[in-house]
């Protein structure tokens, strides 16, 4: 191979950079434990859908709600879990129970370095008058 030394050196640098999240976390004091989420304090024990589904797919559900409400003027959602009807609204329904955004939504998002920009527009009930 031509320029073998340069190529191998480049590959080595790339390998280090590409695996940096792994060894960076290993060497630092980052806690591997999942964040503690504060569950709803208004007495509600049941979410719109099953917890496992929400954990993996709440983004997909919210996207679907967004398109159905805004584009199709369909505002009522029937839960597959309970058959109950809910108004499709992030601020009005989700945050109605999960009222402490910091201790619920942000706890996981910060941990996984996710920065959804929903909140640029959607109002958190506490900040409204």
């Amino acid at each position: 191979m031509y320029d073998a030394s340069k190529i191998v050196a480049g590959l080595a640098v790339f390998a280090v950079l590409a695996t940096s999240p792994l060894w960076f976390n290993a060497l630092s004091n980052a806690s591997p434990a999942a964040p503690a989420l504060q569950l709803p304090t208004n007495g509600s024990t049941e979410c719109v859908e099953a917890t496992d589904y929400m954990r993996t797919s709440h983004m997909a559900l919210l996207n679907r709600w967004r398109d159905e409400v805004v584009r199709d003027d369909i505002r009522t959602y029937t839960s597959e879990l309970s058959g109950k009807s809910y108004t499709m609204s992030l601020t009005g329904t989700c945050l109605d129970c999960h009222s402490d955004k910091e201790k619920f939504c942000d706890a996981c998002h910060t941990y996984s370095a996710v920065d959804p920009y929903c909140w640029d527009c959607h109002v958190i009930p506490e900040e409204a008058k």
Binding site: D73, T91, D120, C121, V123, E127, A128, K129
Partner: protein
């Protein structure tokens, strides 16, 4: 570079482009074929603004505009006119209908504040130009809607609107002092998208009237369904001469303005025959 390495890189590049391209093409084909199905005869929302009931310095006007601004968290950039965002506002009558080139206008009309908002045209030029369908006319009821999740902020709709109804968010609306604590839970919009009146689609969904109409007390603004021959708006339009802004452009605006002289036709011209509508009014 040796030709074999060159060929390999070309192959990788083309394969990647092929994968991306094919998914793009299938997506496009699917999107184009998933056209909104034509709805059966639904509603056709419209509004009648009775200009006879408005005068200069009327407190009602502020009440109407505030109702909208508060309900929708409209940023107040009045100290920064370049960034102005407004859904409903007033111009004087001559400006609102400036192509009429009024001369010797009736005194009470000269300074008459005229409420202007999105006309929710039946043949909207703004939705025609949107490259992402972020704005479209709802076939079920004629409301010209906005999807702030999809808008790319190209402002083509603003350019195409003959009425100046649309505003662009030149900066983050939450930097406006009145939105430090938003007065309502209606989502604010973000910097970089176009916004306008949506006939309070969130209130229509709850069977309510638009906020501006609800602020009225004496039918100064009347909202209703033109497809319902018994509706109040149809009644008013049958009885009064109402004008619309720039009708010659073919946009079919659905905001009607009653301007006429308060005296009835009978007072002015008693000899004129008045036609009776079938089952309707003189």
């Amino acid at each position: 570079m040796k030709s074999s390495r060159r060929r390999f890189l070309k192959f990788v590049g083309l394969s990647a482009a092929g994968v991306v391209g094919s998914t793009g093409v299938t997506r496009t084909v699917r999107a184009v074929s998933e056209h909104e199905p034509p709805a059966s005869q639904g509603k056709r929302w419209a509004m009648v603004i009775d200009l006879r009931k408005f005068s200069k310095d009327d407190a009602l006007i502020d009440k109407i505009i505030s109702a909208c601004n508060t309900a929708h968290n409209i940023p107040d950039f009045s100290d920064d006119p370049k960034n102005e965002v407004k859904w409903i506002w007033t111009e004087d009558f001559e400006t609102a209908f400036h192509s009429q080139e009024f001369h010797f206008i009736r005194e009470d009309l000269k300074d008459k504040p005229t409420l202007l908002l999105c006309n929710h045209c039946d043949n909207p030029p703004c939705t025609r130009v949107c490259p992402t369908e972020a704005t479209w006319k709802r076939e079920s009821d004629g409301v010209v809607m906005m999807d702030w999740h999809r808008c790319i902020g190209c402002r083509y709709c603003v350019v195409a609107c003959p009425y100046g109804s649309r505003s662009f968010n030149w900066k983050n609306p939450r930097t406006a002092s009145n939105l430090a604590n938003p007065p309502s839970t209606y989502p604010t919009r973000m910097r970089g998208v176009v916004e306008k009146c949506t006939f309070c689609d969130e209130r229509l969904a709850r069977g309510q009237q638009p906020a501006c109409v609800e602020a009225c007390s004496n039918d100064e603004m009347v909202f209703g369904d033109l497809n319902d021959p018994g509706s109040k708006v149809r009644q008013i339009l049958a009885e009064h001469l109402a004008i619309r802004r720039k009708p010659e452009l073919g946009t079919q605006p659905e905001i009607y303005y009653i301007v006429e002289d308060p005296r009835t036709l009978q007072e002015v011209a008693p000899a004129v025959e008045v036609f009776e509508e079938e089952g309707g009014h003189a």
